[in-house]
Symmetry: D2
Subunit: 336 residues, 4 copies
């Protein structure tokens, strides 16, 4: 962290700042120049409050050089985190596909899709029970009934299940859920993140609607600071000015996150583009970019899906795609 | 709403769609062209699920022409909504300034600031008790203790108080809060919005970090659909690529919202820019743009503020600014 | 400028870098920390090539602390630049309105508008002769004939004229133009900027479609580095994800630019919003934010304008608005 | 194209609009609803001026349904365009790698790199002679001398060359250049595009800094409207709020463009990310997404590159990468 001091600052104030930082466990180096005086903070600065420094009378600006996250930081944990659920590993070279419908609609639907995607090689079943919808008038998901149907599908197929939580108050209903998903609109719902830090279950944390990579890692840090170290990050597209796709899938985020963090990172090409036709090319691209897994919407009847039909692919298309993904992943893995 | 049909669609399917829409209470007009067939939906379409239509086999694309919000829509409620709290009115030509520190820090601080801003003409006292912070290691606010200090300041000065809620589970503590604020990271926390729809207290709803104007109005719609019609909208800057200011204050949103909706809209120049020096010009600009009020951070000692010090102004600066704001507002009001 | 060095760099390489920087006239201060070694560059670094430093083997990252522009920098020229054309001053407290149609269409039209806006207090006449249009099939402006009609209007009314250049090859035709405008699509047309640096005529430089404030100032620097110091900057809205307005008018840019630079800055509310109804509130807001002038589209028959009709206001509306702008400017000027 | 009319419009005016559109060769269908009257334009509307319609008194809004581009539109030219230069094909399943340094620096450098990338399978040599740099103080390229050095390398190796043009006035110097590149800052330099429409040489057109896919296709349309049909489109990252990478590479643009247009599309992962380490994963991802080629910066000594060193890879790294790209492309091609 670099603290740029104002011109003509009082030496006493600078000394007092240096002393205070020393107490906080941070060493400093002072560079006095003709135009600018700079204070370099060279220890572990993840606990230093940037806003506090910025607010000081003698400070002109503060620039971070090291990252403000710690538990999620690869510098302090060089080895890849591998998360294991029901014998399925994600991260550290292990690749998983999570597949299923946007929304759970009926027992028949979810079991049919579960069987199909399992047969095609998916490791996890996804399905929305609590649905965050922009409009209060749109279908909001089956809620607790939806969770029960997912559990049915799990019993029937043996597939571990992934589904989204929207409120910490719903946590008791998620006991049989294998991976709890935090959606893009709740990435910075800090009260929810704190509660998820208290449990010991993998969390699938999506990047915010217009979230930075750093914010995603800071949100992971919230969960990890609570003691829950099982966080899977998910790139799902970011908001830009481009309107042909619903969001702009930022695949560079995959190698960037892998460099900054040891946590596994997967990609959701369905929500990112919002177009079924784009799911194949973006799934293959995400795999080639080095993702640890994919989350793909599959519906046995996309035309009748109660939400996000346009972005779902059929079980038959998923079966084809699944093979191509495996082939690409093999090519990548042989040349790490 | 316009539904563009695919080429060579089956006439039966089109008839079945028209029939279904009729049942939903929506009239249609069919235009069959050489290249495209278009179905115009010309009634109240706010309940029509755009995603559902998009998912149909025969549909190429769907374009909304009327807005998907209803309770918040000026078309159905031409008159300005005026919200009144403790004798203070916002909206319909009534202008209010909400002022106070970013965070409540101590009894002395909050009471001192409250007295100062009251004397300078602020109508409401603001102060953060629950603080949404990007880092789990940053100061998170005094929580319930902070709420109690705000109530103290209210007793002392008679000023109604405005403070942020981060979780519906905290609602019982907000009984003595006059206006409950929903922050930019919770604008699409739909579970929270639903709970706020059940109470009968004004809600100050901030635009999301990278939220569209329509999303802001849809979030207001969530609250209003629950029966709580007292929503104040707040422009607080949006995320763009520009880095000189923390956010880009979108003042065009003020006249746009005023055209689309009857709800009052205020502006927060402090969070928008993140720079104390920018608070004056942006406050005056917001007033000139036709805002119904301002929310300004004032701290008796910005240099020592526990959060967001750099964007707070002093009580003395606020006193000056308050007068200028009134003058500009008077000029605008005389030429509506 | 801060150069963060890689861990375990060779001392000899560091000394060689320090030596090279000294030759370039830049002093350095070295801070060796446990995790990071930092080199502070504390002289005038506007000539230092950031990319070159970034490319060095021993460098991890480079962070600028001082601005990379010099001629446009207020630090080196504390006093406001005042540009004077035909007795009309812009900058340093002097406010001007530039008004006229988007496109010059006919002699009758341009003279009628010129007379009207002059009578309402506009200082300059604008009108497009060369029009940058997204589509090759849209009206491209009258070109050289348009310039001649503008000259006619100038003769008739005595108003100095402002019009856009799209190619340095057209410069000979601009001899009688008083202020040459560079449009948002050419803000980084560096070959054009270099040519404009060679002439001695005020340049009205618009911010790029999605240009940063710093890029705008660097483009001004291109012109000024050539010896032409008469640059007027223009905020005209930036591209964001919001679609209600054509662009998002970034009024914070006004006070930011005024702090960073001594050049005058004006605002174009017509192109920014693309909506006639928004011109009034955004003009007043821009004035309240401290702009040195406005550029407003006025058309005697907006319904029949060959381009950008929707954003033009009538002469009558301009007359009303002009008075309000003056009133707001007076309020602001009395409280600088 | 859909024209939404204002409420209570005069029937005569509507008839007059319908008549005028008929003259322009566009059929209309009128839908009169309770709340809205809609005019559907169902012929070829690429010549209809949207702004003109928007400006009419009776029009509330205009929404395009078909694309405003024609020559570049796959609807009118279903087959892939294949561009052939010196026996090398791009498009229609043919994949090419364009490689070379950001800037031409010396004869030795450019010939060494040319030989190396040729040996590794690159089909084209790239190298910048005219360099668009944000700062007037940064290295601006060798200009005409740089073009001569490229021609030397072409003679020596037989590789066709690709280099950027910044001003139509420089065209005479580009006679021996095989593919002329238009950079991201000139994508909407319409005067330049018009001139390039007059020649008969392939143009490599980069997407603008914050350009939409539609704007890219409209800029291609400018060139094609002039009669030059050989346009290669290039995704090179767009500007977003994310700062870890220089731009956000929008790989979804590849399948989107392939659906909308018949023109070949390649990807530049070097400029997009600005980080050498990201070139490999993003090259593989782009290939997997279906790109027709890649443009990769290779420098024999990235540490000493006069510009953009940080994003260049070494010839050895390129050799490895080239093989992986071919493997991925083979996987994709077998499953079209």
């Amino acid at each position: 962290m670099i603290v740029v001091l104002k011109n003509n600052v009082d030496k006493k104030q600078v000394d007092s700042l240096i002393g205070w930082l020393k107490e906080e466990g941070v060493d400093t180096h002072l560079s006095i120049g003709k135009y600018q005086t700079i204070l370099g903070l060279v220890g572990d600065t993840s606990n230093v409050d940037e806003d506090l420094l910025n607010g000081l009378d003698i400070v002109e600006s503060v620039k971070r050089i090291s990252e403000p996250f710690k538990n999620a930081n690869r510098k302090f944990h060089p080895d890849d985190t591998v998360i294991e659920v029901a014998g399925r590993k994600i991260g550290g070279g292990n690749f998983q596909i999570i597949a299923g419908p946007c929304s759970v609609e009926s027992e028949e639907q979810i079991i049919e899709v579960a069987k199909a995607v399992k047969a095609s090689g998916a490791g996890f079943l996804r399905g929305g029970a609590f649905k965050p919808r922009t409009s209060p008038y749109a279908f909001q998901g089956l809620g607790i009934d939806g969770l029960k149907l997912l559990e049915e599908a799990k019993k029937e197929t043996g597939m571990p299940i992934v589904t989204e939580i929207m409120d910490a108050a719903h946590l008791p209903y998620f006991e049989n859920v294998d991976i709890i998903q935090v959606g893009a609109r709740n990435t910075q719902n800090f009260e929810l993140l704190k509660e998820l830090g208290k449990i010991r279950k993998p969390i699938l944390l999506k990047r915010g609607i217009a979230g930075t990579i750093q914010e995603l890692l800071m949100s992971a840090e919230y969960i990890m600071a609570g003691g829950n170290e099982q966080v899977i990050l998910c790139e799902r597209g970011i908001r830009t000015y481009e309107t042909y796709t619903r969001n702009t899938l930022d695949l560079s985020a995959v190698p960037v996150i892998k460099e900054l963090s040891h946590l596994p990172v997967i990609v959701d090409p369905s929500h990112a583009t919002g177009i079924a036709k784009m799911v194949r090319p973006m799934s293959l691209a995400a795999t080639a970019a080095g993702a640890d897994g994919l989350m793909i919407e599959v519906h046995n009847n996309p035309q009748k899906a109660l939400c996000d039909g346009p972005q779902s692919i059929t079980p038959a298309a998923f079966d084809e795609l699944s093979k191509e993904i495996r082939t690409i992943h093999k090519v990548i893995s042989n040349n790490p």
